[in-house]
């Protein structure tokens, strides 16, 4: 199997799909309006219409500070221009000057505004006030459903090996639906050093409950705690992690360990990072998997990547990791690599689309005698995912309906995923197409 060729072809396909969706995305790349030059502002600094248009131009171009200066100038001339004060407050919010934004929003709270502007004042005032707390929390809850054509990853091969003997595989691909849910709770505490140093704890949980294919049911949770410390443009994040995975009501594996991530901001458009992590994996025997402790051992991952933001609305990241698992039974020890590319595009009114592709190359150390006493397993695993999401306020807004903020801020997402595994052992060749929808609500407090 030519891994490199297959990987390259899949990367190209995902990239092409991503760009095709991008080109069709509405409201992202409009033709540039006639540019207002800075020299015009120097000539007419008190021209209200010109300076307001210049502020919008600068904001759209990503030059927020220039936009803020223009709005500030308008407010010095017209201090009762409440609409412009709202725009100024929100630009300060984007610049993360939360105290500045709060001051403007508190002023606006007592002013006569339209209902839409009043709702924005209330929403962002809550955000800036919680954002200034030394101890801040974010909670995110999601519920949805999925459909998959092979959720249990049944082998796609007609024959497999058992004890080295080729035998028919009576595999059943069963299309099934599932209820899905996830929660996330993150807490951050500012250390007050003036450099952004903070401590954090991040907890996430996923539930997948199939209607029929119970062996694909899972419940997983993870906790990660650590701190981020800034040294100029570099940040260091040491952390400890714990993860537990329950498979079809059986406790399957827990892992605990830690790692260190180092990130350097080269410029606002380019960030590079390196990371190393080690976790001890503790497997249990289950009704579906009696192997149990033979898989126990350390899993080390080390690698890095880059994040590129060619525009405010566009983020591309690529990462590569080396994997090394040392299990009690070397049939389950492996070496390998994981490569990931992600592309995220933000569109107007909170819409977004994401494309992600991950490839794993896994080479085991010893044969698994239960399958074959002579063939050492080699796998290539591949996952591609596309997703599109938008706030409900935007979705209903397309039909002219206004939702209360508590409902309108709920995010709707639809996604599709392809997961495949190729192996030199036919037993382990499989793939699965799935689609999912979810509703997600985020709360900051």
């Amino acid at each position: 199997m030519n891994h490199a060729f297959v990987f390259s072809a899949r990367i190209m396909l995902a990239t092409m799909l991503g760009f095709a969706v991008t080109l069709c995305a509405p409201g992202v790349r409009n033709a540039a309006a006639e540019e207002i030059l800075y020299a015009q502002i120097l000539n007419q600094p008190d021209n209200l219409e010109l300076n307001l248009a210049f502020a919008k131009q600068e904001i759209d171009a990503g030059r927020l500070e220039q936009g803020a200066a223009a709005l500030e100038r308008l407010l010095l001339v017209e201090p009762n221009w409440d609409t412009v004060r709202l725009y100024y407050a929100m630009v300060l919010y984007r610049l993360n000057d939360l105290a500045g934004a709060e001051r403007e929003l508190l002023i606006l709270r007592g002013r006569p505004l339209s209902a839409a502007h009043e709702a924005e004042v209330a929403r962002y005032l809550a955000l800036v006030q919680t954002g200034q707390n030394d101890l801040r929390f974010m909670a995110q809850f999601s519920v949805g459903a999925s459909v998959a054509d092979n959720p249990a990853f049944a082998s796609s091969s007609a024959f497999g090996l058992t004890g080295g003997v080729l035998a028919p595989i009576t595999t059943q691909r069963n299309t099934d639906a599932a209820i899905t849910s996830s929660v996330r709770l993150r807490g951050e505490y500012s250390l007050g050093t003036g450099t952004g140093d903070n401590l954090f704890a991040d907890m996430q949980g996923w539930l997948n409950k199939q209607f029929d294919v119970d062996e694909a049911d899972y419940l997983t949770g993870s906790v990660r705690a650590g701190g981020t410390f800034y040294l100029g443009d570099m940040s260091l994040t040491p952390s400890g992690t714990y993860n537990a995975y329950v498979l079809d009501d059986d406790f399957y594996v827990q892992s605990y360990g830690g790692g260190l991530r180092s990130q350097v901001t080269i410029n606002p458009m380019l960030t590079v990072f390196g990371e190393g992590k080690g976790v001890w994996q503790d497997f249990q025997s289950t009704t579906l998997s009696p192997i149990g402790g033979a898989r126990d051992g350390w899993l080390f991952t080390a690698g890095g990547g880059i994040t590129l933001r060619p525009a405010e609305w566009h983020t591309i990241s690529a990462e590569a990791y080396y994997l090394n698992k040392s299990a009690d039974n070397d049939a389950f020890s492996y070496e390998g690599a994981r490569l990931t590319i992600r592309d995220m595009i933000l569109m107007s009114l909170g819409q977004y689309q994401t494309a992600e592709e991950t490839v794993w190359f896994i080479d085991y150390e010893d044969p698994d005698v239960r399958v074959s006493p002579t063939i050492v397993r080699e796998d290539e695993r591949y996952r591609a995912r596309l997703a599109y999401g938008l706030p409900l306020s935007t979705a209903f807004g397309f039909f002219g309906t206004t939702l209360p903020d508590a409902v309108g801020s709920v995010n709707f997402q639809v996604g599709g995923q392809y997961y495949a595994q190729d192996s030199n052992l036919p037993n382990f060749e499989s793939d699965n197409w799935s689609g999912d929808v979810s509703f997600t609500k985020r709360v900051d407090f």
Binding site: N43, G100, E120
Partner: protein, 317 residues
């Protein structure tokens, strides 16, 4: 060689930036070099910026002749002009490189070095603030080379990167420090104290602006602020900077009062704009809630470890 703004003819069509800025930049280079070479009256009054907004009593004392005039909107600001504001007054200056100085009441400011090439954005800028309240937002010069911008106050030298900062220089700074109960030792009275605050962009900015950093350096030491709304206090020349610490509310209120406007009458909308704030500011771009993809299956989850699942019973272990 003197070049005044009057000598630059604005074309009837929309002006090209370079046709305006380039000759001015060249004039600045010539005037500065002229100043470096001569000690007499050969210093040229080259323009460094424009008065963009004026409130109250603001005066500009310019050139070697020291003539003073009341500032008005669209007035040119020149190299070495001394800008003085009185009670309840404020001025916003737009510099040629897109830097912005906003000064509040009782402020005394001089821009004493300004070299700028509009084609490359390179240059140097230095300013002195003897007293008062001010905000500075860096432009092209600082964006291209943070070390090329410096602001000197009696107690400290400020170096900035991609940032907007605010400062209080003079007795008010000492009074605010006393009000917040800050412990410090002053050997120079209160007139040279300074409060220096980084306003942004903060670490969590969702823009492509560089996150702000300000270095506060005195002969007694230095301190760096890289988190928005943190402050450093320097009580005296030669004193060690105290901080950074979160900017206290009394300092914020002081800055807001003197550097920002507040409504003083009924709501107005001179240009009749009603775009939602999220749309105008671009914040709505970031209002989606991205959901992480489902976790990848752990090792062995889908391996046929129990052969009877997949094979006829005669092959089960």
């Amino acid at each position: 060689m003197l070049i005044s703004r009057k000598d630059i003819t604005m074309p009837k069509q929309k002006p090209d930036a370079n046709s305006v800025l380039k000759p001015l930049a060249l004039a600045l280079c010539l005037s500065v070099s002229g100043f470096a070479l001569s000690t007499g009256n050969a210093q040229a009054a080259a323009q460094v910026g424009t008065s963009a907004a004026v409130r109250g009593d603001v005066f500009v004392r310019g050139g070697t002749a020291g003539e003073q005039h009341r500032a008005a909107v669209s007035d040119s600001i020149h190299l070495d002009d001394q800008i003085v504001t009185r009670q309840e007054s404020a001025l916003q200056i737009l510099l040629l490189d897109r830097s912005v100085f906003t000064v509040g009441e009782n402020c005394n400011l001089v821009i004493d070095r300004f070299i700028y090439d509009p084609d490359t954005g390179a240059g140097e800028m230095a300013a002195q603030v003897a007293q008062g309240v001010f905000r500075f937002m860096s432009g092209q010069i600082g964006g291209n080379n943070p070390t090329a911008v410096s602001i000197e106050t009696p107690s400290a030298m400020l170096g900035t990167r991609g940032t907007f900062i605010e400062a209080i220089v003079g007795e008010d700074a000492a009074a605010l420090a006393d009000q917040m109960g800050l412990a410090y030792t002053s050997t120079c009275g209160t007139s040279q104290a300074g409060f220096y605050i980084l306003r942004g962009p903060g670490l969590n900015t969702n823009s492509l602006e560089s996150t702000g950093v300000v270095d506060v350096t005195s002969t007694g030491g230095s301190a760096t602020i890289s988190e928005a709304n943190y402050a450093v206090f320097v009580p005296c020349p030669g004193a060690e900077p105290i901080g950074p610490f979160p900017v206290p509310d009394n300092v914020l209120e002081f800055l807001n009062f003197f550097l920002r406007s507040a409504p003083n009458g009924p709501s107005t909308n001179p240009v009749n704009v009603n775009t939602p704030g999220g749309e105008f500011s671009g914040q709505s771009l970031f209002n989606g809630v991205l959901l992480d993809p489902p976790p990848a299956p752990p090792q062995g989850q889908f391996d046929p470890n129990t052969p009877m699942m997949y094979y006829p019973p005669i092959f089960s272990s």
